[in-house]
């Protein structure tokens, strides 16, 4: 038979594609169904966060932080207020710290639930997605009773919180933990250890620890490769040092260390660890006034500060320069999704288009966080 001429095809995945988790465009070079190269194109959701921040005073930036990684608004605010408080050199009451930690861990669970649910949907299992959203709804209800908002909270202010926790919050949180523990097991039975799911995700998109570190990956993406690195333990902030919990890392038990399954499973394990933190914190919230330390006027002395914290997606850093006025001179956010996304070409070459979906999902990006 004569040699048939074949050529590579350039396939445009996104920005309107069901599985790019937002408006991400990936330029795929495919040979049949095998991915030869993948180039992510970003910027479709750019909202000038950093420039906006320069035109507002310090408190007004908080709602903009909400909108960066819209699936974990609490964690974004947490990082920002930590940075501003460091710049102002104020200490917040213990009660505020506890509530912030509880809220951030609840937010981490809610964010991981979205990641896990949509990941199942990427692989073709639709049902776990709705189970995850059902449980996420309970967390959103908790947030709603606390601050009135369900997605973008503007809850943490420099020096305090916008509202104290309402009566009944502790009981409802405990009820949620009681409901949620068995649900994780159900999720594992339905999805995590499903034979087809494991076959789809194990040994796919393998990210060696060394490459992950070289790319400055963080969060579950880094820990999936077996690197024990979590800012809550390695660079403790707030009151995290008071609680007893473990860093979840990938084990490579289903395939190679650092494959999609590991990155996925780390999120499931992290939810369990978050539950442990919440359980310990919820019983020992000290008394106090959450708004006592809020300064009347935020006008830090000239200087600069870099504060990093662990959000659901990884290391979120804020670099703030103050020139002594009431507006920040410069705010730079080091977004975990942006850094993790840069890994994509590295780990997707040589896999199939179907694997490409699994890889994008496992890196777990939020486009609002990538583009800001």
């Amino acid at each position: 038979m004569a040699e048939l001429r074949t050529e590579e095809m350039v396939l445009n995945m996104g920005p309107q594609h069901p599985s790019t988790h937002g408006v991400l465009r990936i330029e795929l070079v495919v040979d049949g169904e095998v991915v030869v190269d993948a180039v992510p194109h970003i910027g479709y959701l750019h909202r000038c966060f950093e420039k906006h921040a320069e035109a507002m005073n310090y408190q007004q930036v908080v709602p903009y932080c909400d909108r960066m990684d819209y699936l974990s608004s609490m964690s974004n605010d947490f990082g920002y207020v930590l940075a501003v408080e460091k710049l102002l050199n104020i200490r917040v009451p213990e009660r505020v710290e506890y509530i912030r930690v509880i809220m951030t861990e609840l937010q981490r669970i809610a964010s991981h639930l979205v990641a896990i649910g949509t990941y199942g949907m990427d692989i073709g299992a639709f049902t776990p997605f709705l189970y995850c959203f059902r449980d996420r709804e309970m967390i959103l209800d908790l947030f709603e009773t606390t601050c009135g908002a369900r997605l973008l909270y503007n809850y943490m202010w420099p020096g305090g919180l916008s509202h104290d926790i309402p009566p009944g919050f502790v009981e409802k949180t405990k009820a949620f933990i009681k409901h949620f523990r068995p649900t994780i097991k159900e999720l594992n039975d339905l999805l995590s250890y499903n034979e087809i799911f494991v076959r789809r995700t194990a040994n796919v998109g393998v990210l060696p620890a060394e490459v992950a570190i070289n790319y400055a990956a963080s969060g579950p993406t880094l820990r999936g490769s077996g690197v024990k690195w979590d800012l809550r333990k390695d660079d403790p902030y707030s009151v995290y040092h008071k609680f007893d919990w473990d860093i979840a890392v990938g084990t490579g038990e289903m395939g190679t260390l650092g494959d999609c399954w590991d990155r996925y499973m780390v999120k499931v394990w992290e939810m369990e660890q978050s539950l442990r933190i919440i359980e310990q914190a919820i019983d020992s919230i000290p008394e106090g006034d959450v708004q006592a330390a809020i300064p009347k006027r935020v006008r830090p002395a000239a200087g600069e500060v870099y504060v990093r914290s662990e959000t659901a997606r990884g290391e979120l850093g804020y670099y703030i320069i103050s020139d002594g006025s009431q507006n920040p001179f410069r705010v730079k956010a080091r977004a975990p999704s942006f850094v993790n996304l840069s890994l994509l070409p590295e780990i997707s070459r040589g896999y199939l288009i179907a694997d490409m979906i699994a890889i994008i999902g496992s890196v777990d990006i939020v486009l609002g966080d990538v583009d800001r």
Binding site: N12, H17, L130, I196, L352, I353, A354, M356
Partner: protein, 341 residues
Amino acid sequence: MHNFITYYLGSGLLGSVVSSLLPFVWVMTYALVAIYLELKVSAHMQDRLGPMRTGRWHGWAQPLADVTKLMQKEDTIPAAADKALYVLAPVLVFVGSYAAYAAIPFSPAYIGSNINLGIFYIIAVSAIVVLGILMAGWASNNKWSLLGAMRTAAQLVSYEIPSSLAVLAVVMVVGSFNLNDVCAAQSGWFWNWFVFGKFPFLFITFIIYFTASLAETNRAPFDIPEAESELVAGYHTEYSGMRFAVFFLAEYANMFTVAAVASVLFFGGWNSPFGTFMSGPIWGVFWLISKGMALVFVQMWLRWTLPRFRVDQLMYLSWKILTPFALFNIFAVGLWMVLRG
């Protein structure tokens, strides 16, 4: 059936037209019911309610509203599409699935065409569907569609082999390709059904056939040709309105075809499960449809439970697991028949 209608309508042509349109009435009714079922089954499996408003009672009119919406939609044909093929493709796909209804024995007296090669005919006409899907994918002039179509072609061709081999095992036992004969061979109580081991190995045959038939109908976990999270919508990405509806209808028609064939081959077809109780030509229709719908429910159940295979895993399953097992199964059935005389 055909004879019955032509006897009363006199003219051969008119009779043929009427008798060939009768299953269409069933397919349309069934499709509406199945769409409603799919909405409700998926909803209840996912802790939802599903449609509750349309038509007041539990959203019963939702499929009707969906169809009305699809009919009103603008019929778009992409500028770069191959127009003739693009228009023809959905028709061909539907023809392939619809033609199979001619040989499904709804009851001893109610079969479109009681041909001796019934099951062979169904397998053959179902293969036309591949052509239609390939045409749709190619004519759309869309890379996602093309990928979907290529996947479909590979998948359907691969899975026809284990499913035909599975059918062959039943044919060997019965000694006839005629589906009415296959049903008749399982008459009596339900333990006479092939799936319950009237002959050994036929349970395995059923598993092979059912798995392969899921792949042939492009249903999850084998829905990779239209994997919405990967290929947007696969081969029907560019289709909208009624043309899309025809693809949809064909898929549902196909689901029932394979379910009906499975119930004929393994679950006694139009036989009542309880001997002579509730049996006869009229009850036969009831039993076949009930059994078929039960299997359709299983298809939905699987769809809303399992994740999707990857292309190469799908091929692996077909060529390295199902096909060898089907061959071994035929050998075992043959051996058993020889040894038992």
